[in-house]
């Protein structure tokens, strides 16, 4: 029986507790929160053995095999490191850490201790995401991806979370390097990172505060973001984060040299985009019928899943947790490769660095260009050293600021 603990008993911890309880062969041996009342409320509502107000007590007394970390992101690194040092496997909610260097250190520590680590990119394990992965792996695209588009919408108006964030100038989200973006975009970035093969793509980011938020007197929460990611002039990707775009979507498109795929996370639909064309007027009539048939097929698939009691809202989290536990038990590879986790972290660092640069009025264009080149060089050096199982590489990455990825020359002007 795998002994699981949860650290941090806020909203997302409920989802973790629910999903863990659906997995056979594991039990929640303890929950912990620095506010003991919060730990107690989770303990009372779920079949949990004990609750704690201190991490050391949890690790000493409950002796978990796996710790799920669901605290605010700024504490992820320290808690994850403590757990790994005490011999626990670790599942960290997204974002893994505040900076890529910290992610690198955790990965190196896990490798050094023979432990496993994963991050809560559970959207990548929803039913529809798994169907898409299977198709890509079967060669449906006809080669490596040519282009990807990841859209991530985030409605602010009706969200209690957003109201709290906008009202509270001391809110923990404001202390993150990327603020609101830092807490939400990793799902959309991770989708792209999964299909990139290089460790140092170029990143161009443009972000701004939407007119809606500006009208509310908000100046520091960037809620509109556009990103171009470019890999060796072979594979490109656009990432769009928007609080204002309607409909507010969570979609992903991936195009290969032969065919493409379109995934809608909210509707759990996957559409094949065939590369060939029909002759003449047939192109106007037959593809819509094919699309209609595919949509109907998606409906049937979803209904079948629902009737089979396998269509829970957080099914991706369950699948990810289950896969992670299996990798622990069987010593098999982790469900999200470390390379992918680190690449996601680096792309996010690069985005936030550029947004910072843009907001700094004193930086000159030439300085920006110099900085860009320095980032590129640092990134290349870093990636030459950064093998996931190399603890020495991790240590040097931790001290190798500035962090970030290589970018197109002159991007300082673009941002």
């Amino acid at each position: 029986m795998l002994r699981v603990a949860i650290v941090g008993c806020g909203k997302i911890a409920d989802a973790h507790a629910s999903q863990i309880q659906r997995i056979s062969g594991c039990e929640i041996v303890g929950v912990c929160d620095s506010e003991p009342l919060m730990a107690r409320q989770l303990y009372e509502r779920f079949a949990v053995k004990r609750y704690f107000g201190d991490l050391s007590d949890l690790l000493n007394d409950a002796r978990p095999d796996v710790v799920h970390i669901t605290t605010p992101p700024e504490s992820h690194f320290d808690i994850a490191r403590s757990c790994l040092e005490r011999g626990c496997h670790v599942y960290v909610e997204k974002p893994l850490t505040l900076h890529a260097e910290e992610a690198q250190i955790l990965v190196a520590l896990a490798n050094e201790r023979g432990l496993k680590l994963t991050v809560g990119h559970d959207d990548q394990f929803s039913h529809v995401a798994r169907r898409m992965r299977s198709l890509v792996q079967s060669g449906y695209l006809g080669g490596r991806p040519v282009h990807m588009e990841s859209h991530f919408g985030h409605e602010l108006e009706d969200s209690a979370y957003a109201r709290a964030l906008l009202a509270d100038k001391q809110h923990w989200v404001r202390r993150l390097p990327g603020k609101l973006l830092h807490n939400v975009i990793s799902h959309g970035i991770a989708r792209i990172a999964e299909f990139l093969s290089s460790d140092a793509p170029q990143v161009i980011a443009y972000g701004f505060v939407s007119p809606l938020l500006r009208g509310m007197g908000e100046e520091e929460i960037v809620d509109e973001l556009r990103v171009i990611i470019c890999e060796d002039e072979r594979t490109t990707a656009y990432f769009t984060f928007s609080s204002q775009m309607r409909p507010s979507i969570h979609q992903f498109r991936i195009y290969g040299p032969k065919n493409g795929l379109f995934l809608d996370q909210d509707q759990e639909t996957l559409i094949r985009l065939r590369g060939g064309r029909f002759k003449s007027y047939l192109e106007k009539f037959i593809p819509p019928v094919i699309f209609a048939e595919q949509h109907l097929g998606n409906v049937m698939t979803n209904v079948r899943g629902f009737l089979a009691r396998d269509f829970h809202m957080r099914s991706g989290m369950r699948y990810l947790s289950e896969s992670f536990y299996r990798s622990i038990r069987e010593g098999s590879p982790v469900p999200i490769p470390y390379r992918e986790i680190l690449l996601t972290a680096r792309i996010m660092d690069a985005i936030f660095d550029q947004l910072d640069t843009r907001r700094s009025p004193v930086i000159s264009k030439s300085a920006a260009r110099d900085q860009t080149r320095a980032y590129h060089a640092a990134s290349v050096r870093q990636n030459e050293r950064a093998t996931p199982d190399s603890s020495t590489a991790s240590a040097s990455v931790g001290s190798s600021r500035p962090r970030g990825l290589g970018r197109c020359p002159g991007e300082g002007e673009v941002v």
């Binding site: 008993c9 409320q41 100038k169």
Partner: protein, 355 residues
Amino acid sequence: MVGSERDTSIIGPDDPILVTGATGFIGSRLVENLLGRGFRNLRCFARPSSHVATLDALAGRHRGARIQLVKGNLLSREDCAVATRDVAVIFHLAVGGGKSFPEAFMNSVITTRNLLEASLRETCLRRFVNISSFAVYSNTQKPRWRLLDESCPVETRPALRGEAYCFAKVKQDELVTEYGRRFGIPYVIVRPGYVYGPGHEEISARVGIGTFGVFLHLGGWNTLPFTYVDNCAEAIALAGLKKGVEGKVFNVVDDELPSSRRFLRLYKQNVRRFASIGVPRVVSYAVCCLWEMYSKWSDEQLPPVFNRRRWHAYWKKTRYSNERTKAQLGWTPKVSMEEGFRRYFESCQARARHA
């Protein structure tokens, strides 16, 4: 303050009073009520994002009173310490938002704990008035038409109601009671029914729900435990001032309570027409049973938001009493149901025009 009130009140007109949630629907009416009673030293606690126009207007009308606005977050112990300094009575109305259990718990229970801890350091505290809700009552074991009053049991397993608000409020009441027992905090718990009035135009779920695209009228001929906002504020004020009621619970509902059917008919006549489907009680109970069973069978593929406990709490035919509140607090609902409805429907119409 009139002479008779001075004799029965635990504090004088210049003793400091703290009102949390002071800019809210009930809080602003309570501030107005206290000012109307002649209390001149009010500390109003509100979130940084709260609109304070109502309080400004009240301050303008009561020039001799000192209305101190304290903006902060009750999750901050420091803010709670500032808010409670030297206060004689605390009216804790701040409502915890959030649909999830942890959010509701944090915004209700942790905030209340912080406030109670801060008030432990204040030697001059005479009364802590905790605003609870009818949502905490179980109402499960009582046969139809039995009376729901202060002696009725509270949900023992509130998480099973599938309603974060109920869970948080039960836990909040438990905490206040515990602090009263362990530390001698002189508390009173006030449990209003459904508070209606201008500023709160939604239709109560006790009447029905529009979740599925059409309004399902679930209340039928049930009596609705309504209280007009000014009447409720009056009861809360009295609960904070009256001598000799420490440790007691008071339910607040008005007289002449309407049936759900009558309310819905008046609403349609006075505000807007819309289609509704009357759901017989036996059907609503059966749906709640089936939903609960399916939720359990499917491992909560559908969350158990409709269940038997909820049906008993909201849609079971029940009578309500305000006898204790009248007898021990000397409260009477000053605004009649007819007048309250008139003001409420006017407000709904105005809101519809501006929508």
